[in-house]
Symmetry: C2
Subunit: 109 residues, 2 copies
């Protein structure tokens, strides 16, 4: 969970994710897409993404092909959804308490 958020917190890694979102790409092609960063730097980003479960790696000769793994974002998505759900639950509880109060506004919206 922490690894996932830290991984996508870096703009460069989000850009990499977009590159391999639809197409499988070798590390070299990914690195060639950036003209202001070296290949080893991209390699390190790919490692971070892989350890966070956000990309899958496949060997093909001397090349390593990467593709996005959207399931890896499931944890983050659940965090967001859960945040919203529990927020709604809290508001609902407060509304019920309000409703039970003598002279409560009753019907409200």
């Amino acid at each position: 969970m922490q690894a996932i958020i830290e991984a996508i917190a870096e703009p460069r890694r989000r850009e990499i994710l977009r590159l391999v979102r639809a197409t499988e790409l070798p590390a070299g092609a990914i690195a060639a897409h950036f003209d202001d960063v070296t290949r080893p730097a991209v390699s390190q980003h790919l490692r971070t993404l892989r350890e966070a479960g956000l990309v899958a790696e496949r060997r093909d000769g001397t090349r390593r092909l990467y593709r996005a793994r959207p399931e890896g974002l499931a944890g983050l998505r659940e965090f967001l959804d859960g945040f919203w759900d529990e927020r709604l639950d809290a508001l609902r509880r407060e509304a019920e308490i309000e409703e039970r109060r003598p002279g409560g506004r009753g019907g409200g919206n």
Copy 2:
């Protein structure tokens, strides 16, 4: 967008968000919840969260009350949803291309 992700990338800030998710709390009460960090540090976190649109601030005398603002997470949610949607679109396009190929596998799943 970048501000939102950086804000929730810090574990301490996520904990603060959970604290004010259902209840409105003054800064002092939030700081008192942590025994390994000083009050100014919490104050700085609250500023970061506020600038990212994740919490709302309300004055009450000398106190400042904070509450979560789930709408602030909408941008991040859209990012995740969009990521999934475009991924599915890409897979669908590939499937169509496969289908048009002479001798293509046709209806496959």
